[in-house]
Symmetry: C2
Subunit: 345 residues, 2 copies
């Protein structure tokens, strides 16, 4: 028997979730020698990811949305990198590294059909890159940046790209890909340190949206208007961007984190400009663009290895800190991709 | 000397324009035998069009938008069909029928370079179709329906199309093209007579948005959700449609007439659904899609001649009624494409 810490979804929050109330850390024991069902695997979690979309899963199961609600009083799940330590499934071998959607516990027995949500990725062992990279720049958030900017942003050299939440898991990669494509890249973030980091990354301009007038800052930093907006935050930022958008601008709606923890969504008053400026506002979910997976992995792995792009991570030690880690992301207290380190490879 | 009635833009309205205040009818005289400048033409107006976008031109000239502001105290202009009665320009011959943007007067001298806004269209004389058709179903509004639905709606057989202002100049054609493409077509309009007309046209369902709960009506008449929304009105209708839109729905923003005469635009609160349902919201201006002109004219002329599509017009006699005619359109008092008949061919 070994100790096994799990993260439980305990209660549906109405605004910001609270650690210990909506998410509860539970310690139990697991017998690693016990039989596991036919088709199941037993994995040891190495790193796990906390991402803003998880807030959307913390809802009443009767409300439909693009990703399923977390069942109450059960282990939460999300993107993980884990190692197989027992297998009763011919697709997995002991020692394999897996990536995908898995349970948030130190040790997890995954039965069929949920094993299909995990893919063997032994390249993670051999790449020489940190495991955590595969939850950020080379994982779901990185793919989101790549798909959103390239497929939906339809960038044209010389255009102005504006990115909100620009120092985050998705945003920092969006800006760097934009710069590679010859765009003028402008970003905003919620602290002066984050803004400094954006400038280090090569953003042409960056500002702290909490300490300036957004309308004025957009006018100043995007003197030729905005051609592509990579939307991560929503609310008044979206409205301001619509005001500053050029004719035929693309507003790629990746997320609207400012609206995730409120019951009173912020209004948008200037939708008429969608007509008068022929704007395109397009929402997307990264998992609907699997055709770009291969190009994404190839390109971003290369850029990382050559040092052409940088990627900041914000790693917290210990699975028991998962609830606070997720709350930090929702409150903007993360600086870079937030990852929970659970165990070494 | 003959009498020449003109329509003058007299004052910038803040809400609904008022005839005699913001638009003034002026009688003057014109010498049809007088010399006209090199490059100019003198035309006699046959029919003129009043269209919602003209409200946007009734603004202070310092405000930029996609179509230029009307200059104060000058003749208004818009789509006309007219006949050349004098020409000092090699591109035009006396007797030619012209179509395009021209002055709102019985007789108009158009100097260069404005003659470029008029095209010789002697096919109008020979087609056997009423002149007024060329300001509606075969003119700018018809082209708007064709481009908006086909190019931006990206229709797929079996999908549900919802059209607002569906009995109007644009809407009635949108619905009929949709039906031809195998869509389930649902429309709304502002009176029971208009709704009856939509059913006559072959709409699968139609409702009077003024007498029902919009959310409930959309649920009832679009039981499989909305895949394409042809947006003519904006405001709370847009918000309701976003609630009822299917994943990957296209919201084609043609106009938002409910917002043209107010200084307090209606808010949209549910933009987060653009992300969660991967919606595409796309504004367009018809004049940006000239590549579709030929196909539009060919298809719609054929459908009209074979009787496959019907098109209702609302014709008012006499240029002096132009201000009221435009106001009627803005207030929903028109029933079908509003045209002002000025003189016979
Ligand atoms: N569509 C998809 O498939 C998909 C996939 C992944 C992520 N996303 C979305 O992409 C966005 C970024 O995700 P991420 O993983 O890269 O997270 P992240 O940027 O690493 O972390 C979230 C950041 O959002 C900012 N933020 C939080 N509350 C805010 C508020 N009220 N107003 C403005 N900014 C606020 C904070 O940065 P500041 O300090 O700069 O405010 C915070 O650090 C989120 O909206 C997420 O839902 C979408
Ligand atoms: N993007 C482009 O290039 C382009 C080109 C042409 C037209 N348009 C737009 O297309 C739309 C329709 O134009 P149209 O020429 O076909 O006009 P129309 O439908 O013939 O006439 C306007 C109609 O709008 C409806 N309406 C008026 N006020 C309203 C309100 N407050 N709420 C809801 N509906 C209202 C009325 O019908 P009900 O009785 O049914 O309410 C009215 O009859 C307009 O928004 C126009 O600006 C855009």
């Amino acid at each position: 028997m070994v100790s096994n810490t799990q993260v439980i979804f305990a209660k549906v929050p109405t605004t910001f979730p609270v650690a210990g109330e909506h998410m509860v850390v539970k310690k139990s024991e697991i017998d690693l020698d016990a039989e596991i069902p036919q088709g199941a695997i037993l994995t040891k979690t190495l790193d796990l990811s906390v991402d803003p979309y998880m807030r959307g899963r913390m809802r009443d199961a009767s409300v439909e949305s693009y990703s399923p609600a977390f069942p109450l009083n059960q282990t939460m799940s999300g993107y993980v990198v884990a190692q197989v330590i027992k297998s009763n499934n011919s697709k997995f071998t002991v020692g394999d590294i897996v990536y995908g959607l898995g349970g948030y516990a130190e040790y997890v027995v995954t039965p069929e059909p949920y094993t299909a949500l995990l893919t063997v990725r032994n390249d993670i062992k051999d790449s020489g890159l940190p495991v955590s990279n595969y939850l950020g720049v080379l994982g779901m958030p990185g793919m989101t940046a790549y798909v959103g900017l390239i497929k939906f942003g339809k960038p044209v050299k010389g255009e102005t790209l504006y990115v909100s939440a620009a120092s985050g898991a998705v945003g920092q990669l969006v800006g760097q890909i934009g710069a590679r494509l010859g765009l003028r890249v402008v970003g905003s973030a919620g602290s002066d340190e984050k803004v400094d980091y954006l400038k280090e990354l090569g953003f042409d301009a960056a500002f702290n949206y909490k300490t300036v007038d957004i309308q004025q800052a957009l006018g100043e930093h995007c003197p030729n208007g905005i051609d592509i907006y990579f939307e991560n935050v929503g609310g008044k930022m979206l409205q301001a961007v619509i005001d500053h958008a050029n004719k035929f601008a693309r507003i790629v709606c990746c997320g609207m984190i400012s609206q995730y923890n409120t019951q009173n969504p912020e209004p948008i008053y200037n939708m008429m400009k969608v007509v008068s400026k022929s704007l395109e506002i397009r929402g997307f979910i990264v998992s609907d663009s699997p055709e770009m997976n291969e190009a994404f992995r190839r390109d971003v792995t290369e850029w990382l290895k050559t040092g052409e792009i940088k990627y900041r991570e914000d790693i917290v030690e210990g699975i028991e800190n998962t609830p606070e880690a997720l709350i930090d992301v929702l409150r903007g207290k993360n600086f870079g991709k937030k990852v929970v380190h659970v165990a070494d490879l």
